[in-house]
Symmetry: C2
Subunit: 238 residues, 2 copies
């Protein structure tokens, strides 16, 4: 075996030449970028700055991340992973209490990363960590008696409450709510989401196409408006 300056039999984390520096990895790069964004804002996340914080050169990062856009996408995914973890831990006796606590838990995560909602909204393709969040939500709604169509509308209506952005409400092209089937065995890992997506796609009664964002927008809008009207009536009656 080649003579190494650190032939330590139980090599801790690094087997590289440099003794002081820990080996670079995608996780360390992402973690450093998150720390920078938290401390100095998303604008401070620069390839050169991330590299400096990791005590390496900017070009070294390209061995673990294909581009800066990919790094930003990884940041968005990392935050959604935290959201998924926070919401997965929530338990409640009723479906609405469960959803309510999960939205508040997601909000807590976003408040710790104020740059996250904007970054998540800017992603052109859905970060994979969002699917478990939706899967759990659809599962809860289905158990509570929601049919697939109503669960689908609920996901759209609750999207901005869960993720802090409402991008999908303002999109014109649909198919937002369907995870890539080839990605990771959707049918196995995301059974509720897969069933709902298939059910909604086959819906052709005219009210809903694949993802009619105009219809989803109006549904959420009517939810809010009718709720406000009930508050108005309750107050004027008292």
């Amino acid at each position: 075996m080649p003579s190494s300056p650190r032939p330590s039999p139980p090599p801790p984390p690094t087997s590289s030449a440099a003794p002081g520096r820990e080996a670079l990895s995608r996780e360390r790069v992402v973690a450093a970028a998150v720390a920078i964004a938290d401390a100095d804002g998303l604008g401070a996340v620069t390839m050169r700055r991330v590299a400096a914080d990791l005590h390496c050169e900017a070009m070294s990062l390209y061995h673990h991340v294909p581009s800066k856009d990919a790094l930003l996408a990884a940041l968005a995914d990392e935050v959604l992973r935290q959201v998924a973890q926070a919401t997965a831990a929530v338990t409640a006796s009723s479906w609405d209490d469960a959803v309510r606590r999960r939205c508040l838990a997601a909000r807590d995560v976003m408040l710790r990363h104020p740059w996250a909602p904007g970054l998540v909204a800017a992603q052109t393709t859905s970060p994979p960590s969002v699917w478990p969040v939706y899967e759990q939500l659809v599962g809860t709604l289905t158990e509570a008696g929601f049919d697939d169509d109503l669960a689908h509308r609920a996901i759209h209506a609750l999207g901005s409450m869960l993720l802090g952005f409402s991008r999908e409400l303002f999109e014109s092209d649909g198919d937002t709510l369907a995870p890539d089937p080839g990605e990771t065995a959707v049918g196995e890992n995301l059974p509720n989401l897969a069933r709902m997506a298939a059910s909604v796609v086959h819906e052709t009664d005219g009210a809903l196409s694949v993802c009619d964002t105009r219809a989803e927008f109006e549904f959420t809008l009517d939810l809010v408006l009718s709720g406000l009207d009930r508050h108005r009536l309750a107050r004027s009656g008292a």
Copy 2:
């Protein structure tokens, strides 16, 4: 007295030396930037690119816009001006129909400028063009019998539906819904908003501070959840 917006007697647009080129102005700079963003995305909006489209040099822009950030803020304000114009034209017989049509009109504007919701959300200070939109909304709600507190909650709940973003829902520090009093004679131009802001600020029954974003978030959330529950019951009953 109606002071005409164009008191200029005859001189066409340009009195400068260059004959072919029209004189630069803040309006032309902003318009060029909007056109670039519409055509090639917000990332294409570059001082050098805007200047090239106006057939001048990048540094000339700084005579009409103090910085690129200021230019982007002007872009956000321009889109909200279009929203204000679109919503101001809406008439309806009931308050909820009026609000509903205004939200849809705002959405139409945003769909024509897909970069706008994100840019508006990124603004750290509220673009002034948003105040007329809120003023009209509060006026409509007040006429319909909303008290100031409920109108205030309604504005928060409808914010993302009107503007395509939900930034305020995820903010931790309040006072979002109070226009700068010194800016433009709030009491005169924004009477409903001024009254509501004053009323809500004085509220101290514990339920609401100046702008308790956590409380606003929960209010909107409960609006959506209870609305979904009514849909669930209606469908299971049928």
